[in-house]
Amino acid sequence: MSDPRVERLAELIVGYSLELGPGQLVRIEGSTVAEPLAAALYAAALRRGAHPYVDLAVEGLAEHLVAHGSDEQLAHVSPTEWNAVELLDALVVLWADENTRSFGQADPDRHQRYVAARRQVTNRFYERVAAGEARWCGTLMPTNGHAQDAEMSLADYERFVYDACHVSGDGDPAEHWEGLASSLAARAEQLDAVRELRVVGPDTDLMLVVEGRTWIAADGRLNMPDGEVFTSPVETATRGEIRFTFPAIFKGREVEDVRLRFEDGRVVASEASRGLSHLRAMLEMDDAASLLGEVAFGLNYEIDRFTRNILFDEKIGGTMHFALGSGFPEAGGRKQSGLHWDMICDLRADGEVYADGELIWRAGQFLADPQPASARVR
């Protein structure tokens, strides 16, 4: 039996997110558990006149390669992959893990080499995306593995995911996302005028400088679901303290109740109730790993809980997130790191945010609708 939400999600991605047109070459990739969504995307892409093809990975094979492959086999990347990234007009990535911890016992060095070899190919594709030559969208197909991480039944998790993508109801999902996109764009434009942000909450009082940086609206084009505005703060200016109420997860390892103190942009003190050594090891990875690369407002209010998946967690309506490590060049970020670790701070109960001294956000909501600079001038 086909799930109408899957069909609607497929239509939303090929139409709204990727704007696929006649003659475009699009690859739909994921694992074999993503088959229903992959097939729906294939049909939806055909209906838009595009040329889709599907490539599904078998879960367990990469794990087998990492465990048993020779050095040469680990490093091998298919010429077909190199060829494909040059030819694709669009790529849909379906995250669908039956087991989100399947690399839990893998040798970290071997796993890292496997990932690094393939990252060259994906980086080349992202270069083409950044140059406007190709588009991509990442989304998730609900599986028991992801539901288990979220501590939900599969049926409940499906509801959660499809609600977050706004494909559950009768309305036109694209219309919803277009509306959200314009309000996020207006919010980003308004934040562009801000020099300094102050975030106040339980055990939290953090000052960030965002002057001269660009706020970017994440509006469902690159990720589905989506819903945040983000920038890269001035790397040397962050000062104060922050406490993260949700677990901070990196490479499947959880660190609980993280507290960080910043001076001149850099973490100078770190505490955690569990996983502190992992946290500190990551902070020492390289020079930029203890600087903030991102500050963002989560604005998808259909995402109302933590589910141990950053695709959703960073967009929880009423939260902010801060990433240690790499910044975004397109936002004006100047530092690169091997780390980009998003940590989420729940501000829904009693958080406050001040922009240049003026209160703009309380208890998980902006106080005023976004007024873009152009509108204010008028």
Partner: protein
């Protein structure tokens, strides 16, 4: 529980059929139903030092293409797939059907259009294979759809398929090597003969095979396998043949086909069911009414007709003839868009003579031929 036979099948495909060597780039192509075998083949390729790459698609994509695509989309050839066949050293293709009749309602013209479009990929595969640059093998993973086609339970069908590949025996590779040597000897024996005459129920057909090459099918490109085939001289077929098994093409069955040849060409056609379709196919082009292949089915572990040509044409004790295109490696020169294998059961009341001498009776070569 894992089926030991699946592991053996993978080992035979990788170690015997395609002989994967270190550094070989190997594609594993199947539908999502073929995943259990794809896993085993991936493991075996990795153990052999190759670089396995899976190409796995949902089985329903073809139906979706036929139902949704415009002509322009049907004509399109994926440049990624076209480049793919250029760099591979080995292709392992696993048929794993969800529904063997999923395309029965598709307009044949759309089908033909799609086949024409993907022609260049097929041509490059055959060219590179002929040049020794690419090895490939086609096999099948038992599914309920194929079992249904064979009118068996899945467990019975699995037993049938794995027995046909000798995978129920202790050392399948050894068995295949022995069998290959037998088929090689048979090919040598037949290669020295000029005229074959097949005599059976309502059948008396004479063919000239002088100067043509007999090719043993011993598990290299099909698995399972077990036949020896050639391309008979295109103008030589004389007489009549009656095919006891249904003749199937593109999912359509024609029952009780009888053909009469003169000067190599079909001059009379009769069928109990599907005669119009048969006549339509024979009129497809000039070569469609001539023989492109004559072969002996030699796999005695295949004992019944299962409506899948991969198995049916290897049925021990049968011969098959194909109307249409011949295989160049057999020396045949017939060209056609058709290659339709039809199978004639010779296990009872039959004889084959070679240059006047009886060499085969009731489905078996006489003692001396194979030893």
């Amino acid at each position: 529980v894992s089926d030991k036979r699946l592991e053996r099948l993978a080992d035979v495909l990788v170690g015997y059929s395609t002989k994967v060597r270190p550094g070989d780039r190997v594609s594993i192509e199947t539908s999502t139903l073929g995943v259990p075998l794809a896993r085993e083949v991936y493991r075996a390729v990795l153990e052999a030092g190759g670089h396995p790459e899976t190409r796995i698609t949902p089985p329903q994509l073809r139906e979706l293409l036929f139902s949704e695509a415009t002509d322009e989309q049907l004509d399109w050839l994926n440049p990624v797939a076209l480049a793919d066949v250029e760099h591979l050293d080995v292709r392992i293709v696993v048929e794993a059907f969800a529904n063997t009749r999923a395309h029965s309602q598709v307009d044949p013209a759309r089908h033909a259009r799609r086949s024409r479009a993907s022609g260049p990929i097929l041509e490059r595969i055959l060219e590179r294979a002929a040049a020794g640059e690419l090895r490939w093998v086609l096999t099948l993973l038992p599914t309920t759809a194929s079992a249904q086609e064979a009118e068996m339970s899945l467990a019975e069908y699995e037993d049938f398929v794995y027995a046909a590949g000798f995978l129920d025996r202790d050392d399948p590779v050894q068995e295949w090597e022995t069998f290959a040597a037998t088929l090689e000897r048979l090919a040598g024996f037949l290669g020295a003969r000029r005229t074959l005459r097949v005599i059976g129920a309502d059948t008396d057909l004479t063919l000239d095979v002088g100067g043509r090459t007999w090719v043993p099918g011993s598990g290299g490109e099909n698995f399972p396998d077990g036949e020896v085939f050639t391309g008979p001289v295109e103008t030589s077929a004389e007489g009549t043949i009656r095919f006891s098994f249904p003749a199937i093409f593109g999912g359509r069955e024609v029952d009780d086909v009888r053909l009469t040849f003169q000067g190599g060409k079909v001059v009379e056609v009769r069928a109990a069911r599907g005669q119009a379709f048969l006549e339509e196919m024979l009129a497809l082009d000039e070569g469609a009414s001539r023989l492109g292949e004559f072969a002996f089915g030699m796999n005695d572990a295949v004992r019944q007709f299962t409506r899948n040509i991969l198995f049916d044409e290897k049925l021990g004790g049968t011969v098959h003839l194909a109307l249409g295109a011949s295989y160049p490696e057999s020396g045949g020169v017939n060209k056609s868009g058709l290659h339709w294998d039809m199978i004639c059961d010779l296990r009872e009341g039959s004889e084959v003579t070679a240059d006047g001498e009886v060499v085969y009776r009731d489905g078996r070569f006489l003692p001396g031929v194979l030893d």
